[in-house]
Symmetry: C2
Subunit: 191 residues, 2 copies
DNA sequence: AAATCCACTTGACAAAAGGCAAGAAGTAAA
DNA sequence: TTTACTTCTTGCCTTTTGTCAAGTGGATTT
């Protein structure tokens, strides 16, 4: 069963359009599934996936100059997942996107997205709203990184995305929070 | 003289459209100027300015829970300036946008932007490209905050936006970099 | 000129976080 | 079961950054 009801509801929650429009948009998406540790995107590929994640947990990461793996972001269910730089600029990605748990969702390609963007006014508003939403989230994360201690950042993650702490290994969470494994381990103990 | 040549060139540098389209877009913008310390936006207002900053330096800031002023971002010339949350979601802003130096540029309102967005395909691509560009910049800043020391962050700012260090007071730069005034002062000395 | 204000610097000490290495605990493989 | 891995924890010590308070120097006001 490839029921797109969750995607329709997600679209309607993001932008004020008719249910009919939302269903038309949702129907252009293609179902896709991932096993634990599968990749949606690898470094050096040009991303061609704009994914609505219906269920599961993913993360994006890259390797820094010291060769260490840095988790940039986590994606939880009922969200859009994509690597904006590679997807929109059509350039090779530096980052990976990987499933942490089993995942399922619906995807469209860059070409499909662009066609929708220019032909369906409702999708234009949706696409823009997603960019705005993610941009705001990124700014918020920025603010949190600067103005909160590591402990507060951890507590914030705990209250906003508890799934992450449940499924993601400590080292991923640590690099996401900008601390070392040891420091995060100690923070946990103190709570 | 309200020559929009710089705006036309900026548009053409962001998106591949015809010069004619770029000029038509540029001509819908209205000239605007700011004196030092003038505000483009204050807290509790709904932002209605999408500004191309042709010349000058601006910053956006807000007050944290302790009542301290935190500089969130600097805007340099030849960039788009706006407070995305308030402007696109039509809600009251928590942030201020203020001119650090004398500034001049060209603006449009939310309504004007939306009209262009839905009637001019070239502007759709431009608008999306700006969101993508700013989003990527925000992600990059995020990465830098997490994976660089305060000293490296300062050096990076020094090499990418030297105007800021020249015109903005130390305390603005310090809160932007996520360190105290004292720490930034000490960092400077060591260089 | 004296007083005031502001931006910045500096010193002394405290707290937060990192580096490194060893060890515990769990999982998977042979 | 034993071995090998990986993940996570912990101790010891260093580095970075913060806090608080005092002090300097420049600009403005009276």
């Amino acid at each position: 069963m490839n029921n797109r009801e969750s995607l329709v509801n997600f679209i309607l929650s993001v932008v004020k359009i008719s249910k009919d429009d939302a269903e038309k948009i949702a129907n252009t998406f293609h179902p896709i599934e991932f096993q634990e540790k599968d990749y949606l995107l690898r470094a050096n590929e040009v991303s061609d996936d704009y994914l609505y994640l219906e269920r599961g947990l993913m993360r994006t990461f890259l390797y820094n100059l010291e060769g260490e793996e840095i988790t940039i972001d986590f994606f939880t269910e009922d969200n859009i997942v994509f690597e904006i730089t590679s997807f929109f600029n059509r350039i090779r990605s530096e980052a990976y996107i990987q499933a942490i748990t089993k995942c399922k969702g619906f995807r469209i390609s860059y070409e499909e997205l662009n066609t929708l963007f220019h032909t369906k006014p409702a999708f234009r508003d949706f696409g823009r709203a997603i960019l705005v939403k993610e941009f705001i989230a990124s700014q918020g994360r920025n603010y949190g990184m600067i103005n909160r201690t590591a402990k507060e950042r951890y507590q914030n993650l705990l209250s906003t995305k508890p799934q992450i702490l449940q499924y993601a290994p400590l080292k991923c969470i640590a690099s996401y929070l900008g601390v070392t494994d040891s420091t995060l381990s100690r923070l946990r103990k103190k709570m």
